[in-house]
Assembly symmetry: D2
Homo-oligomer: 297 residues x 4
């Protein structure tokens, strides 16, 4: 099976590598060409534009960083729309809002193409291990055709109905995750300041009813103040914002998510947006800064 792959960031690179490893023929494109070198070494072809990828491949998959990137590869110069047509399919696995998905869906359908949105749950490690959870919505027939690719990139895929539902499901999951990360950060700091060992808190948590892989994975590095980016904080905050916007449309009051979102914004204002979303821990930790305060007096 031959597929195109657009976007070779942290996630996209891992996902396309898995496709290559499992025998897919993959043609990649990335805004910055250098990111494709490693994939080429593993057998990928390189295209110069998204349009060229679509011209060459029946199925094109994308994993881009945000809605504006997702729109730009479709609608921009040398974009997907220039080549998409009957018999060609586009699967966007980026995390975008439902509106963005809908716009893309309509433009592609108009030209006779097929579209599936398929955002994923899981970050760097699950992407590398082919253990993502895939939330697909849109053309049901296309969903069934690309299941072999989904099986390589993920451990489970869901078909959720009309375009937009994949995006929405993803936002709901990430909203819960972002609030949990805040609660976890507050707990770790509170423990430390109250004379408890944060590492013992991790042991206690891991034995109880709220034990989960994220606490297990991130806890030890957070305590050390290390936040190397698996899922960048600015993307997590974007998802919180989009989930809150979905809550606004549906008149759903979400005070805990809103508080978590403001903490992520605080982290961004402290320049932590490119670190892992666990860096929100640093906003809770901030303590007395004597030099600064003396200036204030």
């Amino acid at each position: 099976m031959e597929v195109g792959f657009l976007g070779l960031g942290i996630m996209g690179k891992a996902m396309s590598m898995n496709l290559l490893r499992h025998g897919f023929k993959v043609t990649v494109w990335n805004r910055t060409l250098s990111k494709s070198h490693e994939l080429v070494e593993h057998g990928a072809s390189v295209a110069e534009t998204p349009a060229e990828v679509v011209r060459k491949c029946k199925y094109t998959i994308a994993m881009l960083s945000d809605p504006s990137a997702a729109l730009s590869v479709v609608f921009g110069k040398d974009g997907i729309l220039e080549q998409i047509c009957a018999g060609k399919s586009y699967v966007d696995m980026s995390t975008v809002d439902a509106d963005t998905s809908s716009k893309i869906n309509e433009a592609i359908k108009e030209r006779g193409g097929y579209f599936l949105e398929a955002p994923v749950s899981g970050s760097k490690k699950p992407a590398e291990d082919g253990q993502l959870v895939i939330l697909a919505a849109g053309e049901k027939a296309l969903y069934e055709e690309v299941i072999p690719a989904f099986n390589v990139m993920g451990k489970k895929s869901f078909y959720l109905g009309q375009v937009g539902n994949g995006a929405k499901m993803k936002l709901v999951v990430n909203m819960i995750m972002g609030s949990m990360m805040n609660a976890f950060s507050e707990g770790l700091v509170l423990a430390g300041r109250s004379g408890l060992e944060p590492s013992v808190l991790l042991d206690v948590l891991d034995l109880g009813g709220i034990a989960n892989p994220m606490f297990r994975l991130k806890g030890p590095t957070m305590i050390q103040g290390s936040h190397s980016p698996a899922f960048p904080l600015k993307h997590q905050q974007k998802d919180m914002r989009l989930a809150l916007a979905l809550g606004d449309e549906t008149a759903t009051s979400m005070p805990v998510a809103a508080a978590a979102n403001e903490a992520f914004k605080k982290a961004r204002s402290m320049g932590l947006g490119d670190l892992d979303f666990s860096a929100v821990y640093e906003t809770v930790k901030t303590l007395e800064e004597p030099s600064r305060n003396s200036q204030l007096r």
Copy 2:
């Protein structure tokens, strides 16, 4: 090994039953006598006052509902202080604040007795299954003596140092749990209002990095609006309040926990305090109430 057991609520009953099942001789006391019937059928003796339990047993364990109950069985008429003395030990497994534990500790030490606070993580089901996590602090020698009892009631016990640390660890864990329950509730409602199946959200969550036993256990019943009390909401809110008070003492800003606490208070104001803490879901769900609104216009 012979032990006394004070307090036969949801938790205490399950815990003392496990002691009986594993061959401990148990003398129980409860404010309402009737609750001891089932335990008597399984071999427990009954005492008429906390003091009588202490007189009879070298080790007395308590599992009471809140700080005022914990103080009352110690300092009240016919309370523990009337009989505690050198060679007698008291292990309070209730969830109380650090101040309450300290008061009890001092009074018991003054009379020559030994004290251990040992709050637990886990509610009804883990209590019944002997799968609690026990957070002990205080007299280290006593901790080692009662390990056989802890091994029957829990799957793991920690010794955390000075009295107060058990209470604090418990509060930190429950604060994280309470915030997570809010995030989960907001997500379930947001999913439903956005045209997604809440039950599919549960499946997606359970495959990802934030999968945890609490979501797995409570999710299906929450969707049905059923909140039969394993851990009463009013107790969860009390723990949130105490954790926030600990944050106040240590100048730890916890905006997400504070938002979660207000949601639990809202639930209390709606009369849901005696239901399970998952009933905070109902505060998120509340939608238009036409009759009420028409009055307002």
Copy 3:
């Protein structure tokens, strides 16, 4: 001076009436024709479309309910763009986001017209009394030409520089106002539940450092549960949302505004969106609802 006036809602009607009373010749347009009757009785002419208003008048003022209405009268069929040209000016006094203003500004400038955004601070009563505060931004020369009209509708106008700044200033003011309304509501309910007379609280507040016209005006009717709409809650919540979006763009963490926004969303979910924004008081007040709770058990 002859002016056109688009939009005869609560605000627009009062503002155009003031223009008429002070000798301006006014041509009005409203989506629902019937709202113009009273103005016609006071001497207004009626046009059938926004385009017709612009054709007839050198200066056209608009006061519309939200960004989509503001965009629609400009870009829609029979909209302003069909007639705007060199020598014609458009002053949009609606509360919209900066993006909406910018889009309108660009389209009008492209056709040679002049544009001023001029949102106002103040609701029904100040609009009726000509006591609005006007926040103008855009074409400076146009600002100076329309000062006579501004002087009739408002007590003070500011020129704030480039298009978008009027919208932003308005949002900042309304965000503060919305948070204050929440704080006030929480205080009134807390007073009542704590055994204090809410009306005495009003007296105490009015003597202190936070005394302000809004508390003085709204307090007495809020206590009675009356929220007849001067500034509809759904519009206040829209402004909170837009202000929070502005905070998102500028990485400004605003936890209090975010909490207030969620309370307004809760009010919307309770069906209170068309009442005055003081109806957020009802979300704080909600108490036990026995019939509902019994169902839950």
Copy 4:
């Protein structure tokens, strides 16, 4: 009229000075003797203990910094209880919680004395100008006897019924004030980051429905980053905490006050507790700190 006065902090000093200026004979006491020098120059006598003040004066007024100070001058060694008796009265104008007031009330009544709690609304400037608002509760006859002193220290006094109600009213007012200060801070920062002049925002606010003395007084110095303490932030945060505790007792959900409280706690953790409560503005303003972040990477 002869009165005793305990506590010569920012507030107490201004209040006792006003009593002296209006012809009252005043005997003062302060923990740190040096603070009484200026008052002595204006004619005050000095006592060495609270008990000595009560022995000497029929009426003793206190203005202390917090509940523990308020309890200590009553119950401590050389405290008020040692001399209070039938015919002697004690008026506590400190801001304390209702429980503290009740304890003091009971102890004084038991010894035959009379008690009035009378916390005030207003800080340094109104204290100096005799423009406080006095919230009295307790012995009604005593209230009427001390009206001449209240008239000198305040512009208006209220009698609110049973002991505790003065404290509660004060907390409600300060809770609203604290939330407003946060909303104001968020607005000032948002304005500045969005390209608006914060000083123009102050002008706009002062013309609108939410214009109030606090914004007028504090705004200009806040913009300059100057927060010289009229009402110390740590005391404002204490009042927020006590108001939230009152909300907890009465099941009143106050999400906006809770968010504001966490911001004040954040300010405390940044070492700003002794500055004016307007310093919460600095928690909103915090921006990128490059050196710190580079360490994190």
